[in-house]
Subunit: 458 residues, 2 copies
């Protein structure tokens, strides 16, 4: 590692953290319209941060949705180009009462940064800004760098897809570098080489045309909450398999050898269940926990509501019931097709449960698989080996970053998912956090990636 | 009918309506604690209304819950005594956006009074106050009258039970007269001779100790919303029968002859389903709609919630899911036993669905059956025959007025359920209403009840 860069990082540690805190204080929640002004403010803040880091230019591109922040530092037409992707939007914070600190007032406690976005993805993306700042400031940058930060990742990256297609020339690069994933552990560095896709659909089941008195009508008319429960219940069988016809048709099955490799990844199942407070893992019969969350599709209700949910009792048969259903998809599955299969299945079974359903697809994304034999993967692996003292393992993550497969489809560029989060960071949950150690380790590793990537490119 | 009374009623029609409007304007919602001051104000208003009607005394009795308003007009120790029961509390108004008018700003439109409580039970109970006023004002009262109005009927009448036990001597009467039920129709006068009981339990199902990212964990851990859906779904079988072990053990089965009589009541099934906008009735196999809602028990989810229910998408596995479950009970069933069976069953099946459950019984009540051969029933039937021009039919209602069975158990007095509502009154729903015709017909019928009841008693 270049000692100039190391010295720079050491010298500016505290400032980097204070700058991240400024970034985290902006409540840029993309799924709630009241936060629109914060989204705008966050984009402007990021533009300033890129310029401050030494970018030649930084621009805010308006879109039909939230703005995209683009910046670049071009050193030579001969140098390889790294396109850094990140997102500045964050998840909602409810249930607020479960947070131990204010979600948008970051603090350091027990060696961790606490706050919404501390990891996902403000903390992780900001490491790239600071790493590139160090490379520029010390005259060590050997790659061209482009930054592309969006504000709709948590709601499906709708605008970025169009924007990428429209700015293909500007975005030409050799690799896309992303930190929006987790390590298996600080002792088990890993690089994510698989991501699941997503089909997310909201379902409304309607019975009677108004809420009814549960005494005067109960027993004689269908209750749409009971019906929706039965319908959702029927979507999974006793073996944990999803019953939607055709759902598994395109799923890429892994060979026995591949499954052995997947299961060879260090994974402490007892620690996994203990950390989340459940007695045992649970999922599709015939697969291990690593397989279930890495290479198998899912169907989870992310939210359900219907009828009276306030204090005390209200004896009604509700008129409607609603559910938000997330299906994680794996290599081979097309979210358009799965969404259609889900909607058709729900519409087909609704009459037998006595309700009408209306399904609204909310978003979707393709799964992604990264090759481990590319120059970029090898550069990332060497960089992590230097800072972690251990070769990282390739890992199939269960999460979805739909835009990663879109990049491949639209720009023709593969992504390297070099994330520094931990499973315990509680992303999307109350008390999201990011260990200080991971934040600084990331800033230290990224310059090494540039170093090895430029070296391989020679 | 005594012409003096008739003339009085005719003369004061408009004032009666304006007084009812004053009563309806008080938002005395018992299940929401922010309405406590309205509850108090409503009790005071009612006390004033009783004195104004000619009661010798009217008192507000504080209780551990909401106050009880008691009033009386004693004319002679030899006269029979009628104890009038009603409730001044009302249901919550949400979803507010479905109301066409302000719930607590009553209006008359299309011949109906619109507003929360217009029927249930302010409109119906107030008829008794005005009918007795007419009898007193015209010197025609031949019975002693006692009034007992509570403010907790919609949340289980918790305080009234204790209060009745403590004031047994004060409440001695020959019959309890109640208007808190519906007619089969204006052309089909009826008297309710059966009420269902109720067991109402809130269920919380817990999986992981916090909301989890549905990608990183999905497929490998139980989702408590999916699990609760499956559990609720499993509580009813394909024949619409409830699967809780022992649930039907004590259900009083009706003879073929009794079932024929029940089904002989005029009932337009097509109108019933059309009015509520469903294609067909639905319920327990082997029973008619009238039986399903009159003499068979039910299990309805009145409310369900869990996970993210806001705008857009949030891809989580929620930590908990909740449901409010109402079971309507019929003759023979004990709500304590059914509540226990429900809770034990949910706790027993929870592990197989991978969740822990916590059940909180919210309230309960016994079913009730009224004899049709009593002097009081006969007086009610003659009174209605006079004003409707048709003999009323005995009717098993599916609703619950838990206190009615408590009166029998505590005071040893049977109740006559002479209600004047209609199924279309939308009680407990948005746009509750009460036809003007029913309001005035009730005020006209009640004095006749007193007349025939005193006559029978001679």
């Amino acid at each position: 590692m270049n000692t100039l860069v190391s010295a720079y990082l050491e010298q500016h540690r505290d400032r980097f953290l204070q700058e991240l805190f400024d970034y985290l204080r902006i409540p840029s929640v993309s799924s709630q319209s009241e936060h629109q002004p914060d989204i705008q403010r966050c984009a402007e803040w990021l533009q300033g941060a890129l310029l401050k880091a030494g970018a030649d230019l930084a621009e805010i591109f308006p879109t039909a949705g939230n703005p995209i922040v683009y910046g670049e530092k071009i050193i030579s037409p001969q140098a390889p180009t790294v396109l850094v992707y990140g997102h500045y939007d964050v998840m909602p914070v409810d249930p607020l009462e479960l947070w131990n600190t204010e979600p948008f007032e970051p603090v350091v406690r027990d060696g961790k940064i606490w706050g919404r976005g501390a990891d996902d993805d403000k903390g992780q993306a900001f490491m790239h800004v600071k790493a590139v700042e160090a490379l520029i400031a010390t005259g060590q940058l050997r790659c061209n760098v482009k930054f592309m930060f969006e504000g709709e990742e948590e709601i499906g990256s709708g605008s970025l897809t169009t924007w990428c297609a429209e700015h293909k020339d500007m975005l030409v690069a050799d690799v896309i570098l992303v930190s929006d994933t987790s390590l298996l552990g600080m002792d088990t560095p890993s690089i994510t080489c698989g991501l699941r896709g997503l089909a997310f659909v909201e379902v409304e089941a309607t019975g009677p045309n108004r809420d009814l008195h549960s005494g005067l009508y109960g027993g004689a008319v269908v209750n749409p909450v009971n019906a929706l429960c039965q319908m959702i219940g029927s979507l999974t069988d006793a073996d944990g398999r999803i019953t939607i016809p055709g759902f598994y048709d395109d799923v890429q099955e892994f060979s026995a050898a591949e499954r052995t490799e997947i299961n060879a990844a260090p994974f402490d199942e007892q620690a996994f269940v203990s950390a989340i407070g459940v007695r045992e893992p649970r999922g599709e019969k015939g697969y291990t926990t690593l397989e279930r969350k890495g290479i198998r599709p899912t169907l989870d209700v992310c939210g359900i509501w219907g009828g009276y949910t306030g204090e005390g009792a209200k004896t009604i048969i509700p008129s409607t019931a609603h559910a938000k259903v997330s299906m994680r998809l794996v290599a081979g599955q097309d979210f358009h097709k799965i969404t259609r299969q889900f909607v058709e299945h729900m519409e087909r079974i609704a009459p037998q449960y006595g309700v009408t359903v209306r399904c609204t697809p909310l978003h979707g994304g393709y799964p992604y698989v990264a090759p481990t034999d590319s120059a970029a993967y090898q550069a990332a692996a060497r960089a992590m080996e230097d800072t972690f003292g251990k070769r990282p393992v390739p890992f199939y993550s269960g999460g979805s970053i739909p835009i990663i497969s879109t990049f491949e489809r639209t720009l023709g560029i593969k992504s390297i998912l070099m994330g520094f989060g931990l499973d315990t960071d509680a992303i999307h949950s109350p008390n999201e956090n990011y260990p200080l150690e991971n934040f600084y380790r990331g800033i230290e590793t990224i310059p090494l990636f540039y170093h090895y990537f430029a070296e391989n490119h020679r």
